[in-house]
């Protein structure tokens, strides 16, 4: 591990990160835009490689006692494009006759010469005449009605979820969350088209998993933003983008940990299972899950939140705050101090210590919104209490005068002598 990553990891662990998520939206949007554009071009040119379940295809059957893996390599040698063909054995329950069955999707078997060469190769493998290799076309088992219904359901789902986010949060958050979701869909579809991997029913299901996960992730992030905005509503000392940045840095450790936990097993299956040990069947949707989970985590941090900040900054209330703060030249100072640890530190000073000196504090500051604190109020919300109580009303609502370096915690707080430790 390099020193830089150790440093970044330590800062993350201690909540001392202050990445500017909202401010650099142009960079994030450009990255995503490029990826999506490449994917869309590929989709237009190459399309998707649908498996036999969607479009049907060709099936070869040959009576033989050869093993499945032998048949697989014979087919792959005869027609390299059929590498993703399904090979299985059929055993007649009455006669005990064993048959090898090879199925391949319509798109890959459109060349009659290739179909014929597979037929010849299978006949050679089974040491039988070519007439004994039965050739048949097979219809789709995943009918178009299943696809239609799934699309219908996804549309209904998007509408219901938008309404839910709108009610639970607000309209602009719904818009941002949906944009992130569409971003994830486009990125995943684009990568599937680029890689040429087969789209099977399993892939579609993996895809649906991603939709749910992406929204889930975005909502966890928005929950924190909403909580912090509520507290800031009356302080007027932070722009919306700064609030978003604080929130993002607060949930950063959670986002990274959760994504790691979800992605590691999938990555392990993909890398060890599919590529090292050669289990090709795992590739098709292992990749869908990996891409989907990664882009899902990325989009909630780098697409949904900056977009939300952009949308909200245009509201008169927040553009007013920004204008005022920029005039006072305070924003640059604020940016440096907006780490979760600093916010928490500033809260520590203001918040009554419920165990040690709660009673005393309550007496000293009767205006303190005690119920809010008891409910586990968000850190910044306490600033509201302070403002209401008429504390030092100037500057940034953060205690620290110097940015913290690692290991440099705020100085001991004199009035916490009674605190049990």
């Amino acid at each position: 591990m390099t020193a830089v990553t150790v440093g970044a990891y330590r800062r993350l662990f201690r909540g001392e990160t202050s990445f500017d998520f909202a401010g650099r939206w142009r960079r994030w949007f450009a990255i995503s835009g490029t990826v999506i554009l490449i994917g869309l071009i590929s989709l237009g040119v190459r399309g998707l490689n649908f498996s036999i379940d969607f479009k049907g295809g060709t099936v070869w059957e040959v009576p033989t006692s050869a093993s499945v893996s032998t048949a697989r390599s014979v087919v792959a040698a005869a027609a390299p494009s059929l590498g993703q063909a399904t090979v299985q054995t059929l055993t007649n329950t009455e006669t005990g006759q064993r048959t090898i069955e090879v199925q391949a999707a319509a798109k890959t078997t459109s060349d009659p010469a290739e179909v014929q060469s597979v037929r010849e190769a299978l006949a050679r493998m089974a040491h039988t005449s070519i007439d004994n290799v039965q050739l048949n076309e097979i219809g789709p088992s995943w009918g178009s009605d299943i696809t239609d219904k799934a699309v219908e359901a996804v549309i209904v789902f998007l509408v219901v979820v938008s309404v839910y986010i709108w009610l639970r949060f607000e309209g602009k958050m719904a818009l941002a969350a949906l944009t992130a979701l569409i971003h994830d869909i486009l990125v995943t579809v684009g990568i599937y088209s680029l890689s040429g991997l087969q789209v099977s029913p399993d892939t579609v299901i993996a895809f649906l998993t991603i939709l749910g996960y992406s929204l889930y992730d975005t909502i966890v992030v928005f929950d924190r933003i909403q909580e912090n905005t509520r507290g800031l509503a009356s302080t007027n000392r932070l722009t919306y983008s700064d609030t978003v940045n604080i929130s993002m840095n607060q949930v950063l450790a959670r986002s990274l940990n959760t994504s790691l936990v979800a992605i590691l097993p999938i990555l392990s299956i993909l890398v060890i299972g599919a590529w090292v040990l050669g289990a090709t069947a795992l590739e098709t949707f292992g990749l869908a899950l990996f891409v989907g989970l990664t882009t899902g985590a990325y989009s909630s941090l780098f697409i949904a939140s900056p977009l939300l900040a952009l949308l909200k900054e245009h509201e008169p209330r927040y553009s007013e705050i920004r204008r005022r703060l920029e005039q006072a030249g305070e924003r640059r100072d604020a940016r440096r101090r907006l780490t979760p640890a600093a916010v928490a530190g500033s809260v520590a000073e203001r918040t009554p210590d419920s165990e040690g000196s709660g009673g005393r504090d309550a007496r000293r500051k009767p205006e303190q919104p005690a119920p809010a604190v008891a409910n586990g109020s968000p850190p910044v919300e306490v600033e509201y209490g302070r403002a209401a109580a008429g504390g030092e009303g100037d500057g940034i609502p953060l205690r620290s005068e110097v940015p913290y370096r690692s290991g440099n915690r705020p100085p001991p707080r004199p009035r916490k002598k009674g605190r049990r430790r």
């Binding site: 054995t89 219809g139 029913p201 993996a206 909502i219 929950d223 040990l277 605190r419």
Partner: protein, 538 residues
């Protein structure tokens, strides 16, 4: 308060252990899907010729029949001019073949008269009646009802082979016999029409399901494609089981036309309605029901009820609904052959995937322990509890009529759901970290952090659950099965968050020996002691 927490913890761990113990003790394991374990392949061949669209329609209907819930992982496809059905984990393939060979056309036929069974004269009619659905709400489909009749492995293996009432071939009644069947004094000597002669345009003599009465039926008025849905309901006034029949737009008009003429017959003698007021629903040579038509028009919905003296049982009503809903195929099929199919994924691939998955999980656990210290242990135990519950529930569902089958996609879905489950812990722990960072002790923070974190978890899980619910009710096939598993694991997540994570963390957080341990302490895992070595530096 504290006692409540201990109890909650003890109960959930106890329940999880008991579930797992019982499941393993009974030697049960989830059914494995076609891709993991293989199964049985049945080939059905249409009698006569059938075009591609008829075959595709048949495929859709059979698919819905064998995999209505989407969790049984059956696979139906057209292959050449035949239909191939793959069923996972089937035990008695011959029975499956017999059962699926029963697929046939549902006909609506006029009743000319009732006659006694062939060579066994004993008449006992069981009149049933049809009344128009009184306007008002159509209750939603009872969840799980149709599931009881899914044609999959376990059901097929255990169900009795239906009626041998109708000969598949052989001499049928002659034209002369059919002519005078209704007036003949020894009608029981007239043979029943064999299946091979049971065509839409023919006049036929067919028995009802009990075999105690036969009907002389005219040419078919319409086929089962006129029915869009059929479901079991309980009449709120009488408490009896009824079947609510919904027609398609075109079917409704056709049925009203039939109903008008039957009702005219019914009006002649309402106390003892003549045979011409009956309409028979015939499937595969058996009259499933022959209700009296008691209204001239039905506007698209009809309720079939048993007679007051002989009401439907729950299973009779379900059977009738199933037949009406799924019983109609555009062509008739003859079973061709049964073969066992191997798994589509090789054993070595499967083992590789499994090993890789377990390895990935182990890395995740190590990471959790390194990052959160003692709290990582809570995650470990919590995943064990959640896993035991999920495994038991999945296994149990494999043994019910749902025939839930675990496929590779399902296994992967579970791995992803581990991510979402662990997220509940991570959200909570990070919240705890915020609180501890702001100067509180672990002890003070555990409960208030939970309140906030649980709110977040609930909000996010609600979206997942909404997704599952909508997908479940709007889709068919495999997608439905996915939605089912997603919904289940989401519910389990909320459940373990409240009943396991909360008490476990609160209890652990109260012990100073655990929170302040220099190596393993929670406080350290939460980064509340600056200046010391952190995991990254070690």
């Amino acid at each position: 308060m504290r006692r409540g927490l201990v109890w909650s913890l003890l109960i959930i761990v106890g329940v999880a252990a008991a579930c797992l113990g019982v499941t393993i003790g009974l030697g049960r394991a989830p059914l494995l899907g076609l891709d993991l374990k293989g199964g049985v392949s049945l080939v059905l061949k249409p009698t006569g010729t059938a075009n591609a669209s008829q075959l595709q329609e048949a495929v859709n209907i059979i698919d819905r029949r064998v995999n209505g819930l989407g969790v049984s992982n059956s696979d139906v496809a057209r292959q050449g001019s035949e239909v191939v059905i793959n069923l996972p984990g089937i035990k008695n393939s011959q029975q499956a073949l017999d059962e699926l060979g029963q697929t046939a056309v549902l006909y609506f036929r006029p009743v000319k008269c009732e006659i006694p069974p062939y060579a066994a004269p004993k008449a006992a009619t069981t009149p049933t009646t049809v009344a128009p659905k009184v306007s008002g709400t159509v209750p939603s489909k009872a969840l799980g009802e149709p599931g009881a009749f899914r044609l999959t492995s376990a059901l097929l293996a255990s169900s009795t082979t239906p009626t041998t009432l109708v000969p598949t071939n052989g001499p049928g009644p002659t034209a002369a016999q059919l002519q005078q069947a209704c007036s003949s004094s020894n009608a029981s000597e007239i043979p029943t029409t064999p299946v091979s002669q049971d065509t839409a345009k023919a006049t036929v003599i067919l028995p009802d399901r009990s075999g105690q009465v036969r009907y002389v039926l005219g040419p078919a008025d319409m086929t089962g494609s006129a029915v869009s849905n059929a479901q079991v309901e309980v009449d709120p006034t009488t408490g009896q089981y009824t079947v609510l029949l919904t027609f398609t737009g075109k079917g409704a008009a056709e049925f009203d036309k039939i109903a008008t003429s039957r009702y005219a017959c019914y009006e002649q003698n309402t106390a003892n309605p003549p045979a011409c007021s009956l309409e028979a629903f015939e499937l595969d040579g058996v009259v499933e029901s022959a209700p009296t038509i008691q209204a001239p028009s039905f506007h698209g919905t009809a309720v079939i009820s048993g007679s007051s003296s002989n009401p439907f049982t729950s299973s009779q009503a379900s059977q009738l609904a199933l037949v009406l809903k799924y019983g109609s195929l555009p062509v008739r099929f003859v079973p061709q052959q049964v073969q066992t199919v191997s798994a589509t994924i090789g054993k070595d691939s499967l083992r590789a995937g499994l090993l890789a998955g377990i390895g990935g999980l182990a890395i995740v656990m190590l990471y959790m322990l390194a990052y959160y210290r003692a709290l990582g242990l809570v995650v470990l135990v919590g995943l064990g509890v959640g896993g035991a519950l999920l495994y038991s529930i999945l296994t149990e569902l494999s043994y019910t009529s749902y025939h839930l089958t675990l496929t590779l996609a399902g296994v992967t879905g579970i791995i992803v759901s581990i991510g979402i489950t662990v997220d509940s812990y991570v959200v909570y722990f990070e919240r705890l970290k915020d609180e501890v960072r702001s100067g509180r002790t672990v002890r003070q923070s555990v409960e208030r952090s939970f309140t906030r974190a649980f709110r977040t978890v609930l909000t996010a899980d609600l979206v997942s659950f909404l997704a599952a619910l909508i997908l479940y009710f709007f889709t068919i096939g495999d997608v439905k099965g996915f939605a089912f598993t997603l919904g289940l694991s989401t519910l389990l997540d909320v459940f373990t968050a409240y009943f396991f994570i909360r008490p476990a963390v609160i209890l652990v957080g109260r012990r100073r020996s655990i929170t302040d341990n220099p190596v393993f302490g929670i406080a350290r895992g939460l980064g509340s002691r600056p200046g010391r070595a952190l995991p990254g530096e070690a």
